[in-house]
Symmetry: D3
Subunit: 240 residues, 6 copies
C-alpha cells in the first residue's frame, strides 16, 4: 500500500525527517510518499498559519496525481483533517488524533508536550473536537519554537523536563510528543523516563495501515461526503 | 466607527444582502464596509469549502488597506475566526458565536436552523469550540442549499417548519438562523412563531459596536498574539 | 430607550456608582434609571443575602411604575434573573452573564476576580447554570468585602494581584471584574495589565441596548412565560 | 430528634399532607414539625414564585423559635437550599436532591415526573447545580398544575402515563415524583409499574435522620458559613 | 432488619472492625451480619485485586443462606456493585457511593482521602460511573497501604495532612474517608479539622436502612434484572 | 509476534470463531493463540457474568505459560481490562475500546449495535470510563442474545435494521458491532449499508500489532503497576 504523509509547513528538511520517521515503522508492504505544501509558513505556530496549512495540505493532496491508499496529516494540533476527508476516498489520519488514540490504550491519562505556549489552546481545542479530551491530563509547552527543535539535545532536554512535570503534577502516565518536528525523539525519552512516549507520525502510519488492512475508510454519508458540485474560484491554489 | 463585514463566499449578491442587513441595524455612527473574498466557493457548504473560506477571508481582511474598528465574519458555522484574531488589532466577531450569545440571553435553550444536513456537525463543532454548546437544544437542517435560500418564500417556509419542530420536540425557546444567507428573514419568522429569532449578521454588528464602545479588543497575550515573524510563501493568496 | 439598572443591595452610594458607570457607556439615545431595593443587605455576600436580593430586585422592578425598555441586574453572581424574566416583557440582562459573554469574544479563556472567597462557589454555579462555565479558567477571590472595595486603591491593588495570578497560573487571557462594586475600575486595570478587562454593568448596558435595537426580548413560550394567575400573599414586599 | 419540614407554598392543606407523609416514614424517635410560609404563592410554579418561596422558607425557619435537629425543604425543584444552609447549624435536606440521591442507588437512570412543562427547566437546572444531572434520563411534565394534583386519581393516571413513557423512551429504570404535592402516591404507582418510585419528602426525612444519627451537619468553612454581620433592612419579612 | 456488610478482603480483623463500625450506627431494629470472602487478597489495592474482590463478594453473598434485607459493600472504590444488584432482591449500597451521596448534602465540594496513589484513578472512575464526580474536588492519597492503616495514629496523621491540603488547595468543604479500613476515624478527624468527615461504612448502613424503611429496592426492569438462565461453569467459586 | 485473543465465555465454538476472525486480518508475522476461560458463563450478558468473566479472563491469561507479545480481550462491553494490564507486561487491547478508536477515525459519530437491551448501560459505562463516549451517537440493542447470533442470517437482519435506525435517527455515520460473537459479519453489513462497519476483534488485533511494532506497552508508573506483593487466597481460580 502507498501512504501519503503530508507535512504542514514548507520546510523540506522537516518533510524529509517526517518521511524517515514514517518509513522506519511502516510495514513491509507499505510505501511512504512524503509531500510538502507549495505555500504557507516555514513552520506552523498559531491559528493563522494553521488555517493556511489546512488549505495548503488539501492543495498538496488534490494535486498529487498518482493513486494512494491512505493519507497521514503530519501537523500536530493543526486544522484541516475534515476537509481532506471530504476530498479523498481513502482513510485520512491526523497525527494529533493518532497519538491520543494510542496513548489512551496505554495508561490512565496522557499529557501532550508541545512547542510554544500559544499552541496549547489550539491543541486542547482539537482534542475537544475529536472527543479525545477527557483523558488528556494536560498540554504542556516547552517554550521552544518548531525550528528550535532541530537541535535534538535541546529538544530532548526541554521535552523531558516538561514530561517529568506532567508525571509528577498532572498524574499523566503516558506522554505524547506534540509536534511533527519531534519525530524520532520518542524512544530515547521513553527509555529515560520509563514510560511510554507516543509520537504522532509513527502512530498515524500504523493506524492508517490498520484501516487499509481492515478495508475501512471514511464514511461518506453525511459530514464527509464529497463536496457538492459548484463554482470554486482559484482552486487549487498552488504557488509554483 | 467602521465595521468590515466579510462574506465567506464569492457570490457578490450575497455580500450585498449581508451588507444591507448589517446597515439596517448599525448605530448612527457606524459605517459598514462589506468585503467579498477573491477566491473560494460561490457558497460554502462543508469542511473543504469552509477551510478555503477561512483563508480567503483572512486574505480579504489583510488586503483591505484602510483603517477600520471591527471585523464581522459572516459565515455561519465556518472556520477562521481564530486566525483573523491573530492578524488584526480590532475586535473580531463571528456570526455563529454572536447569535448564540444573544440567544442565550433570551430563553432557556436555543435551536439553530441551518441549510444542508452536512452543515449540522460543523456547526455543532464550532459551538463546542466556542463553549456555547450546552444550551443549544439542537441544530436542525432545512435541506436547502445556500443558493436555494434566495427564494425567500421557500426559505421562510422551510425554516418555519424546522423551527416549529425545534420548539415542540427539542424544547427550544429561541431560534437562531444558521446561515449568513438567511439575513433579513428573522423578524417575519419571529412574528409568525411568537418567539425571538436571532440572525447572526445583525447580532454580530451590535456586539462589534458594543466592544468598540467599551474599548475592548482581542487579548494579545497568548492564543491570539500576532503571528511570529517567519517566512511565509505565497501569502497573501489573492486571485485577481 | 430607557434602561432600568437595579442594584442588589440597599447602599444608595453604590446605586449611584453603578448608575454612573452605566451612563458613561450608554448610547446617545439611552436613558439610565437606577433603582435601589427597599429591603435586603447593605452589601450582598453569600446565598442568604443573594436570595433576599433576588426578591428585593423583583420587588423594585414591579414597583417601578413608568415604562422602560430593558432591565439590567447589577449583582455579580446573584440569583434572580429568571424571576425578573417572567415578570417583565422587556429584555433582562444580568451583569454576570453579560461580562462572560463579552469576555468569550475576546480570548481563549477568562477569569473572574471577585470579593470574598465565599462568593466563589455561587459565581461558579451561576456560570454553570447559564452554560457559560466551560471557558472560565477560574474564579478568584481578592479577600475584600464589597464595602472594602470603596477604597479604590486597595481594590485596584488586590484585583491586579489576582488577575496576574489568573494569567500566569490559570491561563486566563481576559479578566472579568466579579462585583458590581468594581464598576469604574476596568480601564485602568486593563491598561496596567495589557489585557482586556470586562466590567459587568457596562457590558450589560451595551447588550441590553443591542437587544432593544434588534427588537429582541425574552421568549415567553415556556420557562419565562408570565406567572400563572393565582393567590400570592404579601406581594410586593416593599419595606418603606 | 425533631425535624422541621417546610412547605414552600401557603396552602395549609398541602403542608398537612406533607407533614403526614413525613410522619409516615419517620423513625420511632423522630418528631415532625411542619411549617407554612407566611407569604408567597398558594402553589409554586415557575421562577418568580420559586425565588419568593426561597425567601419565605428562610423566613419561616429563622422565625421558628424552638430547637430542632434538621430541616427538610419540601419544594421540588425550588430555590433556597443554600440560603437555609447558611442560616442554620443543623443539616438541611431538599426533596429534589434527596430523591435523586436515593434514585441513583436503585437503578441505572431515573426520570422525574413533574407538574407543568414550565417547571421542567428549573428542575433540570437544580439537578445540574447539585451535580445530580448525569444519571437523570429525563424530566417529564404531566401538564397538571400543583393544585390539580389534589384529585389523586387524575394525578396517578397522569404520572403513570409519563412514567411509562420514561421507561419506554428514555430508558429510565427508576421514577422520581417531581412535586411535594405528590407525596403519598409513590407506593401505589410503584406497584402498578413494577419499578421503584421515589418520593422526595419521605426520602428527605430518611436522609435527614441519617445525617443526624451520624452527627453530620453542613460544613461551615466556606460556602455555607453564617452570613457576615451587616445591616439588613426589613428582615425577617413575615407577613402576619 | 438484617443488613449484610461484606468485606472485600480476606483479613478477618478488618471484617470485624467494619462490622463494629456498622453496628455503632445501626438503628435499634437493625442487625449487622458481617461477611468475609473465602478467596482474594488480604487487602485490596489496584484493579486486579478489585475485580477478584468483586467476584469474591458476589460469591460470599450468594453463599449466605439466611434471609436479609439489604447488602452493604464495604470496599471503597472497588468493583462489583452492579453484579450484586443483579443477584439479590434487596437494596445494595456501596460505601463509595454512600459517602459521596452524604458528602454532597453537606457542602459545595468534597475530597476523598484514600490509601495508595494507585487507588486514585479507580476511585475517580467509580465516581464517574456513579455520576458522582462533578462535585468531587479531588481524590488524594496518603501513601499508606490498607494494612498500614492499622496503626490508628499514623493513619490519622496522614489523613489529616491530606485533608488539610484538600481544604486549602482544592476548595473541598467536606472530607470522605476513602477506605473501608478507615472506619472509626471519622469523628476524631472531623473534630480536629472543624468540618464534616464522612465514612463510607456508616454512611452505607444508614442509606440501606433508609431504603428498607421506604420499601425501596433495586429496579429489575433492565440493567439489574436477574441473570438470564444459562450454563455457568464453576460457580460459586468458594475456596474452603 | 504472538497475540493472545481471549474469549470471555466458555463456549469453545465461539472461541474458534473469534480466533478465525483474528487470523483473517493478522499481519504476515503474527500468530494468533485463542484462549477459553475454564469457568464462567457460556455467554456473557449482564454485570454478574461480566465480572465473573473479568476474573476468568485474568485467570486464563496468567495460566498461559508461553511467552506472547500482546493480549486482546474479546468481550464487548465487559469488565477486566485494567486488571489484565496490571498482570502482564505486554499491551492489552479490549475490543470495545479498539472498535471505538477506529470508528472515531472514520466519521463524525458512531453507534454501537449490540445484543440484549440489558447490555446497553454497561457498554455506555465502559465507553464513559475509557473516555470514548462523546462521539458515540447511541448504543442500540438488537434484542438477540449472544447465542442467538449463531444464526448468521437472523443476526445480519437484526443488526442491519438497528444500524439503519442509528443512521436515520441518531446521526451515526459509522457502525460498531457490539459483541465478540458478531465477528465475521462486518464486511457484508458494510457493503449493504454503504458505510464503514467496525468489528472489535479485528480492530483490536490491528491495534495490538501497531503497539508492538511501535514498541509501546502499558505504562507501569501508577494505575497499572504490577500488583503489590501480598497474600492472595485461592488464586488462580482455575476450574479443571
Amino acid at each position: 500500500m502507498k501512504i501519503l504523509v503530508v507535512n504542514v509547513n514548507t520546510t523540506e528538511s522537516m518533510t524529509q525527517s517526517i518521511g524517515d520517521a514514517a518509513r522506519a515503522v511502516a510495514g513491509p508492504g507499505s510505501q511512504i510518499v512524503e509531500l510538502t505544501p507549495t505555500f504557507g509558513a516555514e513552520s506552523v505556530e498559531g491559528n493563522f498559519e494553521s488555517y493556511l496549512a489546512a488549505v495548503a495540505v488539501m492543495d498538496a493532496v488534490v494535486s498529487y496525481r498518482d493513486s494512494y491508499d491512505a493519507v497521514v496529516l503530519a501537523g500536530f494540533g493543526e486544522h484541516g483533517k475534515e476537509g481532506v476527508m471530504e476530498l479523498v476516498e481513502t482513510p485520512v489520519v491526523d497525527i494529533t488524533e493518532a497519538s491520543a488514540h494510542l496513548a489512551m490504550l496505554l495508561g490512565d491519562r496522557f499529557s501532550v508536550v508541545t512547542t510554544l505556549d500559544r499552541n496549547v489552546p489550539p491543541i486542547e481545542d482539537r482534542l475537544l473536537s475529536y472527543g479525545l479530551d477527557r483523558r488528556c491530563a494536560s498540554v504542556r509547552s516547552t517554550g521552544l519554537s518548531v525550528l528550535e527543535l532541530e537541535d535534538a539535545d535541546i529538544a530532548k532536554a526541554a521535552i523531558t523536563r516538561e514530561a517529568e512535570r506532567a508525571l509528577a503534577e498532572d498524574n499523566a502516565e503516558v506522554i505524547v510528543l506534540g509536534c511533527g518536528g519531534m519525530a524520532g525523539l520518542d524512544r530515547e525519552i521513553s527509555k529515560q523516563l520509563g514510560i511510554p512516549v507516543v509520537e504522532g507520525v509513527t502512530a498515524a502510519v500504523k493506524l492508517a495501515e490498520s484501516l487499509v488492512a481492515l478495508e475501512l475508510s471514511t464514511s461518506k454519508v453525511r459530514s464527509y461526503a464529497a463536496p457538492n458540485p459548484k463554482k470554486i474560484t482559484g482552486w487549487p491554489l498552488r504557488h509554483e
